[in-house]
């Protein structure tokens, strides 16, 4: 019996090295791979939660309306009714959480209106486009129009 094993001892040693290698691999892998890896697929399930952990920068128009309901009301029926506040006023999540933290800047009517309404070949033809020089001699738009409900003021 002992004679038979001595013939294949080199194979047993090789097998022992392989088994030790496999055990080491499994042990190292168990330490390095997070528990939630592979739970939902070939990725770390906790990464989904990580992606949710980012502070808001835009508050959303509903948050604005909680305090500024008078402005919301003034927009009703106007051509800009469906535009949400931060489209012109910029990101204001900090202001929505704590009004004193972030003072909103009043958008400059001379530039903010033209972002959308300056004529361009690629714009849909149905979209209202105005050349400010031709239309009003470069007067700022809010000299005549109310930005929140852009009919002619007083009309």
């Amino acid at each position: 019996m002992a004679h038979r094993f001595s013939d294949i001892e080199h194979l047993l040693r090789l097998a022992a090295i392989f088994i030790a290698g496999i055990v080491l691999f499994v042990a190292v892998r168990a330490v390095l791979v997070p528990d939630d890896f592979g739970v939902l697929g070939h990725y770390r399930a906790g990464a989904i939660e990580d992606n949710r952990q980012r502070p808001l920068v835009h508050a959303g128009a509903e948050a604005c309306g909680e305090c500024h309901d008078d402005v919301v009301a003034s927009r009703t029926g106007g051509g800009h009714e469906s535009i949400r506040c931060e489209a012109c006023h910029g990101p204001l999540a900090r202001h929505a959480t704590e009004p004193s933290d972030q003072a909103p800047e009043l958008p400059d009517a001379a530039s903010v209106c033209l972002r959308c309404h300056l004529p361009a070949v690629a714009k849909p033809e149905a979209f209202p486009q105005v050349d400010p020089a031709e239309h009003a001699g470069n007067e700022p738009c809010d000299a005549c129009h109310a930005a929140h409900a852009p009919r002619l003021e007083g009309s």
Partner: protein, 255 residues
């Protein structure tokens, strides 16, 4: 020797016991590790998509600016999670549109074309298509990018090696390497917003409603009406990526 009924039942019984044990174990893991257990958001109850109406986009660049500030995207050119392209399709050669995107549309579009040169001109807002079968996910060697159970392609920044395979694999050019972290970055469909019941930053600021976030698993979501009432198209449908950004009124020349 043919299997008799007794042997078959014993054999299949064993398989069933082993399989149900494995299933119970899997369920335990799912319950323990499911991130969607966070209060107020069930990750398996949503399937996010976006609808874009080409005939409403005016190229104002609001989406590009809002995306950069919402998601802390580097302000230098060429780093975009969303951008807007301007197409000019000449009448003589409809197969070769002139496409430009000065700073991604961040500063709007200085007029390039003469009004009398007009043949077919339009803007195409672009973002990650959140493919259901994403080429970028398939090539990631470490599992650092994935399709979440609610249909959003996300990046695990802690796992990303910055190897750039996914940047090359994305047929829509939607990924970039963030120079600050040296890891990949891309549109998350404002995952931090949509999981809190808000819309994405780009949809929030779009003045014409050219973009709309939609939840395909919510039967009352207006995106179903949009998809039913418009002829919609996805970018590069021949690649069968399962893109979930649906364009209405997209010209065939748009790539």
């Amino acid at each position: 020797m043919p299997t008799d009924r007794r042997e078959f039942l014993i054999g299949s019984g064993r398989v069933l016991i082993v399989a149900s044990g494995a299933a119970a174990l899997a369920l335990k893991h799912v319950l323990a590790g499911t991130p969607g257990q966070a209060p107020g958001y069930a990750v398996d109850r949503h399937w996010w998509a976006m609808a874009i109406a080409i005939d409403r986009c005016i190229g104002c660049g609001n989406c590009v600016r809002a995306c950069k500030s919402e998601n802390d995207v580097p302000l230098e050119p060429l780093y975009f999670r969303t951008w807007v392209e301007r197409y000019h399709v000449p009448e003589s050669d409809a197969d070769r549109p002139l496409v430009d995107s000065p700073n991604g549309g961040y500063d709007g579009f200085p007029e390039r074309d003469q009004p009398d040169d007009r043949f077919k001109d339009f803007y195409v807002p672009k973002l990650c298509n959140h493919c259901a079968h994403s080429p970028c996910v398939q090539v990631c060697p470490v599992g650092a990018t994935f399709e979440s159970p609610d249909g959003v392609v996300l990046v695990d920044k802690d796992y990303c090696l910055g190897c750039r395979y996914c940047v090359q694999a994305c047929p829509y050019g939607c990924r970039f390497i963030d120079p600050r972290t040296r890891t990949v970055d891309k549109c998350t469909l404002c995952y931090h917003r949509i999981t809190r019941g808000l819309t994405t930053a780009c949809c929030e600021v779009c003045p014409t409603g050219a973009r709309a976030l939609g939840d395909l698993k919510d039967p009352s979501d207006p995106i179903h009406v949009f998809l039913r009432e418009h002829s919609v198209h996805v970018l590069k449908p021949q690649l069968a990526t399962g893109s979930k950004v649906y364009y209405a009124g997209l010209d065939g020349s748009a790539r």
